[in-house]
Symmetry: C2
Subunit: 280 residues, 2 copies
Amino acid sequence: MRPFLVIKACQAVGGKVEDAVPAASAIELLHSFTLIHDDIMDNDLLRRGVPTVHTLWGVPMAILAGDLLFAESLHVLLSGNGYPERLRRSAEILTRSTIVLSEGQYMDMSFEFRADVSEEEYLDMVYRKTGALFQAAGEMGGIMGGGDERSVELLGTYGRNMGIGFQIFDDYLGMTSSENILGKSVGNDIREGKKTLIVIRAMQTPARDHLLDILGKRDAPDLEIASLLELMKEHGVLDYVFSKAKNYVDKARTAIAELPQSPTRATLLELADYAISREK
Amino acid sequence: MRPFLVIKACQAVGGKVEDAVPAASAIELLHSFTLIHDDIMDNDLLRRGVPTVHTLWGVPMAILAGDLLFAESLHVLLSGNGYPERLRRSAEILTRSTIVLSEGQYMDMSFEFRADVSEEEYLDMVYRKTGALFQAAGEMGGIMGGGDERSVELLGTYGRNMGIGFQIFDDYLGMTSSENILGKSVGNDIREGKKTLIVIRAMQTPARDHLLDILGKRDAPDLEIASLLELMKEHGVLDYVFSKAKNYVDKARTAIAELPQSPTRATLLELADYAISREK
């Protein structure tokens, strides 16, 4: 979705697809680098059902592969075809978002050892880990397409809010979708003890006791997860989380609505809806 | 030495110290990032006698600290004061050298499992692991100072050859200096089984058998190292390695001699001499 957003943001301000290619390539390479390193840090053995890089090649080679992708990401952008100043500004934004991303990963890692993560802290972490790079995608696309300051800002606001909504909806899906759509067990986040918004909200309802019984229990049976899900529905946890995701996507839509009408703007509005209606 | 080279290269083409600051800061941050990640990959517990980052904070936090420094490095450069096109070109060169550096680290890691590393392969590895970043330092300084293409090229040639000579001399020092100057035991590279130019050259002399007896033996006694050192001297290994280092430094001097005479040029000539005359 990130390179797609770069290209569409570029077109939304009147740029051509080829103007966006260096930035679109860079953001996908950068995203890949963060996935490889995050998988080492989180000690994840599988991603989307296939072995992670460090599982196959060992930690040293996976660190190096990530570093190389990071360097290639910036190099492909800085040596790309395009106005030099647009390339520089895009690369400045991309590195700035990587700093924010590192802070988000630090927060995420530190949450693992805490029982008292607040909704505010969670949303700040999601902004850093997901929103910042989507924001960069919107801004880079706008800059590469030659958009004015206001358009670039709107595209960044769109990206940031859409990204946050996307991530909250991802947590929601992990609890409400089905195993054959997700490619992993429903409720895996609960079994892994992740502090998602669902968990944080449920802790404030009578579902708390049942949740604490199984949070972080790798072998929690499906039946326990299913009964927790019922309790969560009953106490409005799922509705609350979905409305939060929708809230962010609405902000994204409002930002983009300020741009001149065009087929690209319509696509970006559709993309925002997709972020909270997709099945996986 | 790297930021110093950036500043001096900038001055050598008529630039001011402050013109070089974003690039000088960036190269030091980038160098620090590579040290942190290399220490994880090589599983080194100490660097210059103090515990490495991953020893103190664990592997996940050390990976993240390195990633953050890499991002900060590029960000400080791209958002620096200066002509945007000079900043872009410098960042392009810095990311290019990081790609080459990653390749060098891969070669270094793969050498550990090979007994037949050739002198040519070793020198290629040293170019990538050390020469490339010194080359970038020279080029970035020249660009930030507004030097013409030929001057930038000469400063890069200077940096590359000086860096390679510096690294070869470093290996030489590890065998010929003394423990209280080095801060580590003489011959540690031999004990760790490193394929330095000293080892590669000694393998082609009658010192080979004695070398093979202790190469990679962590507990090889000082007496064994001392007698190997005598054998190496006798068969001209140390003279050969020193003359190789000097050869590269001479190339560096030749490149810089083409620049107009100035106090800065004199400093760069001195720096080249220092690279192969320092005590540690």
